[in-house]
Amino acid sequence: MPGYGEDPEWSDIVPLPQDDGGPNPLAAIAYSDEYSEAMSYLRAVMAKNEFSERVLRLTEDIIDMNPAHYTVWLYRAKALFTLHKDLRKEFDWLNPFALRHLKNYQIWHHRHTIIEALASDLDEKSPKIDNMIREEQDFLDRMFTKDAKNYHVWSYRQWLVERFNLWDCEEEREAVDDLLRKDVRNNSAWNHRYYVVFGRPNAPKNTTEGHVLMQREINYAEAAIRIAPQNQSPWNYIRGILSHFQQPLSNIKSLASEFASLEKPDEVKSSHALDLLAEIYKEERQLDCAGKAWDLLAQKYDPIRSRYWMWKKEQLGTAAA
């Protein structure tokens, strides 16, 4: 591919080299490579505020070489809006790009900007919105096949749920189910489930209906615990639910006892179950048992945090007094 310097389309532009801000800015730089050349053309078009088709191609080229350059993304978005481009076409380029650059977050900010602009041109009840959302969900599922814990993608998905009121959308819970079937330890998926079920504006309350939901979610987490008892996510999930409904931990004593018991101190299958059991004993004022459970954690099942477990045990003294 010829460089911009030999391309007749760019012959009217005088490239602007890098000002490094140092005392001798130009000396330090070798301008031989493609990236530096493309950047010097970008500086030149930015200096004269040019928005054109060739600018769009130039930004694609630079982003391809260096996707973390946020100024280029911003300039591209400005160009798209100024030229009144069909924004849906942006995804033809953006989607494959996102699948290749998993660590980049500028992509997601750009996507957010584009979707917001598309949505603001449509009526909230338009079927076109539903289509757009479905396409977004499908694409996010594809992203998760590459990295199921990608923080940027999950943040984007949460924004989508909130922005388009997807709290009751089956797709959201299904996406989570699907990911947890593949990897029950995916904490991001657990968090998203909590977000959709309990993080919504009208979160379930302490009513009969709410309790049905509580039991459904506890059952869901229980099933996951049976697959991998040492996985902390479903244990945290259940604790979060109980605290949301202000229920005592003793509600799940039998579950905890399945995976940890003071009678069989050598057969503890989950340190999380053992800690939970200790706290239930504390709730029940069986302080000796609670202390024994924390001793076991400190000495045998989680010794790297022995100071933490010993602190918890010491607190029992305060509880007894």
């Binding site: 005392p23 350059h69 100024t71 923080y151």
Partner: protein, 338 residues
Amino acid sequence: MSLVAGPGRGGHHQPALPDELELCVEKHVAYIKSLDTRKDEYEYWLTEHLRLNGLYWGLTALHLLGHPDALPRSEVIDFVMSCMHDNGGFSAAPGHDPHMLYTCSAVQILATLDAFGDLEAHVNGGKEKVARYIANLQDRDTGTFNGDGWGEKDTRFLFNALLALSLLGMMHLVDVQKGVEYVQSCANFDGGYGTGPGAESHAGQIYTCVGVLSITKRLDLVDKEKLGAWLSDRQLPNGGLNGRPEKKEDVCYSWWVGSSLAMIDRLHWIDQEKLSKFILQCQDSELGGFADRPGDMVDVFHTVFGLAGLSLMKHPGVREVDPIYCMPKDIINRVVGG
């Protein structure tokens, strides 16, 4: 400051017996100083969008290593000033757009160098101008901050804003109470915090949220036992810390997890000896620098956070770091008081 990776690798050139691991102060100083001469490498230009952050990381690392004068003060200030824009914000490098992340790094560098006077000398009323740029990014409805005029939101920016404003002594320009309430709205069911309400708990975001509550003296709002439990659970059997459940250990989390624990007075809940050893295993003892984990290339980012992690644990040879500001403690005492 260049963000080029290598040439060293974590764990290389180390003694056969792990007990003999020592912090190689002089090697790290030489490594950081050498970064400024590596402008002919392609990667130097690819990381231009982080340059001002990189300078802050390198400068802070040198201070923690007890070599505060290893970089020429006036050149550093000149570079920082060349990144300042008319609106009071700073960009990563000249010709880029201003952003909260770089504005915060600029203020941290200027504070470290005791150079607010230089800022005033370059721009009349410069301090206030910078503070107003930051203050204008606050979303007055929710209390949080945008990163730039484009509306990207993240609890990181809220922290950056309050950190920089407190160094500048200009917290009164923003609605502090609303910012505190926003952080509270980000508290999760597992005791941690994320980038926004309901976002997955992440050690880096926890650092920023607890940092906001520390700067605003509202740590009373933190469930310290629950958060401390989550944070201490980040330690893996090899001593290193991860940033989320079921993720790999990484030296930079020594700082984000460690400083958060230090801010809520629970650093003793992890095994500090094991963590120190893990961090030391990530240094290249000959070529200098730290990597995210043994075997990987070193870089300045993991170098400063590895050193800051060691400093939290009072490792010999490292100056005391402030757990909120990630700057030398004595400098924070000078700028914002003890």
